[in-house]
Point group: C3
Chain length 420, copies 3
Amino acid sequence: MYDLAARMFPICRSITGNGFRESLNIIREIIPEIDIHEVPTGTQVFDWTIPNEWNCSGGGIYRINGEKVVDFSDTNLHILGYSTPKDEIISRDELVEHIYTQPDQPDWIPYVTSYYKERWGFCMSEKQKQTLSEEKYHVVIKSTLEPGSLTYGDLIIPGETEEEILFSTYLCHPSMANNELSGPVVQVELIKYIQSLSKHRYTYRFVFCPETIGSITYLSRNIETMKKNTKAGFVLSCVGDNRTYSIVESPYANTLADRVLTNVLRFHYPEYKRYSFLKRGSDERQYCSVGIELPVVGFCRSKYAEYPEYHTSADNMDLISPKGLQGAFDVMVKVIDTLENNYNYRMTCKGEPQLGKRGLYHEISQKHGYDEVSILQDFISYADGNNDIIDISDIIGVPTTKLISIKDKLIDNELLEIVG
Amino acid sequence: MYDLAARMFPICRSITGNGFRESLNIIREIIPEIDIHEVPTGTQVFDWTIPNEWNCSGGGIYRINGEKVVDFSDTNLHILGYSTPKDEIISRDELVEHIYTQPDQPDWIPYVTSYYKERWGFCMSEKQKQTLSEEKYHVVIKSTLEPGSLTYGDLIIPGETEEEILFSTYLCHPSMANNELSGPVVQVELIKYIQSLSKHRYTYRFVFCPETIGSITYLSRNIETMKKNTKAGFVLSCVGDNRTYSIVESPYANTLADRVLTNVLRFHYPEYKRYSFLKRGSDERQYCSVGIELPVVGFCRSKYAEYPEYHTSADNMDLISPKGLQGAFDVMVKVIDTLENNYNYRMTCKGEPQLGKRGLYHEISQKHGYDEVSILQDFISYADGNNDIIDISDIIGVPTTKLISIKDKLIDNELLEIVG
Amino acid sequence: MYDLAARMFPICRSITGNGFRESLNIIREIIPEIDIHEVPTGTQVFDWTIPNEWNCSGGGIYRINGEKVVDFSDTNLHILGYSTPKDEIISRDELVEHIYTQPDQPDWIPYVTSYYKERWGFCMSEKQKQTLSEEKYHVVIKSTLEPGSLTYGDLIIPGETEEEILFSTYLCHPSMANNELSGPVVQVELIKYIQSLSKHRYTYRFVFCPETIGSITYLSRNIETMKKNTKAGFVLSCVGDNRTYSIVESPYANTLADRVLTNVLRFHYPEYKRYSFLKRGSDERQYCSVGIELPVVGFCRSKYAEYPEYHTSADNMDLISPKGLQGAFDVMVKVIDTLENNYNYRMTCKGEPQLGKRGLYHEISQKHGYDEVSILQDFISYADGNNDIIDISDIIGVPTTKLISIKDKLIDNELLEIVG
């Protein structure tokens, strides 16, 4: 995962354009089954319109003598996202009005865009801005902003039922690692995981799109099916660092997605952080918006907008790690395994079953601690047909990973059945 | 408000009699639309019967030489409320049995009544009682206790709908300022506020009555309409001091009145105090009683029975202030404005709307704090048709005063509609 | 109660056999109405089968010279429960494999059984085990393990309705006092209490059975009636010490049994302990199991498995006391009295009733504390037909014992009626 992120890191991506396409094609080298979709500029998608396509091949700020101040080849963050083209000698005063910095982090270059209002500009560190002392500068932005199309990719892996689990991430940020190459590379690994399963109950839908306009576009074309089938969904964003794990709840924190991710995080990493939907910021905004209302939560390690490097040049390949990415992947695998086994279970016999005759009980009755037999007995006590495996896990305080093997043992002994 | 209270302060009021009538007529000088009702002694009102009318024109305790010990003209609190007439020379021992003091506040004269058991008596400070050393005293109570009527006033200001908001306060206490001239004078100001509105959705019902027997009488004559139409009601009592704000909850703390007053106080004065219905004591007792069960709460600044001056001569014009009365008025205006705007709202578009094209969004995408745009987006996120404006305010933590202007902006942009 | 326990203490009881019968017959000397039932070995009871009957008349470990190491006549705990017969000289090494001790309590003899796996063995203190130094020992177990029957007793005392309250306890433990002679002797006293009542609304069902297999057997024969009629049930176990009071909740802690016992304990002994159903361990396991699902909780003083003497020779007649048993009895009497009076009540009049004319109110209106009148008024405020007496007690914070007399007073005054 880390190597794939490193390969895509230098590419200049935006919500439209060749950088996005190039990155998606690199992913398709690994998962060729991903479908690519192009939606032309001007297409109406719900309340929005697909904007012009933006491409940028270079640019920078130069002294009159040609010396470089900043250049696109150093980092594509230097050019304001969706900047209009420019090639002009201008005064320092005019230039400064078009420079974006982040004064509270004077060494870092911020990531800034202007998608829906035409303007031009540069981003640099506050420190560098303070050194601009010439009277005039030569500014160059080799960009195009013309009718084209918005690109996204998706992959649907059919399961035994039409009920769907959604994973969605975005690929529209330029050279930033955690936010957001971590999401796409973890999602690639999850696709490989699903493809490796001999069978699975759910149909899995994976979406790679630009943020906001991309998920709106995607929803405008797929909402009917998704409303009918989606049982739970996860927006993967900022899943590459090592610091913590986070859930961004759905508006009422009451969907299957909230329940399963909360349950897994509770046992996997008890210090995980919960953010209410008021702290939303990625595509859960669209999936959970009024009129859409899908059962979707956000999953992060350090949540976007909550870590210092967010949306700056410091969100680079040093911020993420193989271990950080693997941790996020592991959580999502537990989520998937829990969902695949998440039925309401009911005991088949009245009263407690005689576990002893099935070799499931202590032979000697003396004081025992909380052991495998206790877990099995607690499972049985709440397998009354009203609880799914997440409920039982929450009630008895034992991870679903453990309960799944106990459930299999009980089914083998014909002591348990699936309800409904 | 303060001046009106000061004018009424010296009058000797009780649950019946001319003091109540005189006070109500002073209020009618300001609000002539108030209707006066007289209910004859002996009338059955639910489980109760209108008692004889009581009037008192003077009285006191005097030494045999004619020197005054206490006199009605100093403060009407000296005569036990509903005291039978008396003009007799009696022994000190007999007198002492008819004197009421408040030993824990030895300087203050308590306010005591005996409405339903005929007796005579005087109230004085504990300190003064200790000085009674003569063998005999001349006691005089110039009162009448005869068939007459109970008086109350009400005013109904029709709105666009028959749905009603109730305000009720009582005018039966003699010379006490916070409890209870503050309620009537704030209510007068609220009537003027409603009269000043160019239009209003709700019909407003304002009641000025004696406490307990008065609200029971009022309910016995109006319960059918009130049960059908009342959406929320507020008993105003002790709303003139500066110390805090309080809500006395309805029995289950779950009515619209509980919700709106809690919401307003939460933002207006976060340190406000909540009292359960177990701490009730004013006319919410009747409005919320079994079989009546109207959605009514009590609103106070320092709650009756919870401040030291309560029901004593220290509850005088120094305890209340123009600022204290204004604060209570301001809260009730916020309550009214919230109720008038309290609909369930629903977004008209699917997905987040594009705020930018309507000038409602930041033009540049860089990190932002929690600002006007965030509030608008949070409002939108919960405007799903299931929440009214109080719900949304409670969820997103922004006062309804703020949300009302945002709601208007969204309606102007055809992004929001009222549901149901 | 204490004397009855003392009389039964020495008897060697088990889940079957003559010790259980003898003990039950001692109880029948006091309550001759108890029915005795015998269920033959081999009978299928739900998922279980009645095992062989076990009887033991003596045994021990002896040095080759005949000297006693341990002997059944000192305490029947020395023989492993359900031990197969034995009479053999064996090596120390072999013997040690058949000795059970409790190393964390080296002075005490543990109570150990092997009901469903045939084996033989002895229990002794860890200290004594350390002294075994001979090369060979003579081991004797004079037991029989043969087809016979399982014994239980029950008594149904019909009430005015068929609705039932269940009390269940077990009599299968050998010489242990708190766990479990306390349950049977308190239950005997409760039977006498019910028999002493001139009338009672509920039918009372009392069960004396062996633990687990006994309650399963009982349920397999009575489940239909019990499912239809049982409104609340209580498993009495470990109710003889002085240390605390405990409730073992039903699976969802939401039955009438949970509500009434919680309410009584809250006022009787506010420091009582709550244990979730995850801490279950006695016959509430069967009564609350999936498919049975009766509204049953466990009631203990110090809960089984939570006090150091549990399942050892230290759980002897010194651990329980007349006062300890009486305390548990008193709680259960309060539970019964509350249940007998537990209806939904509704006021018959609209608005607050005029208590004064019925002599139920203060004659003088001055400040009062929280007194009898306040309690009565609070009762009235929540007697709206939706609350039973437990609800009202919980809401207003007054014990049901107090509310029952107030309720009677209100009914006498025709101010209150029973709903539904």
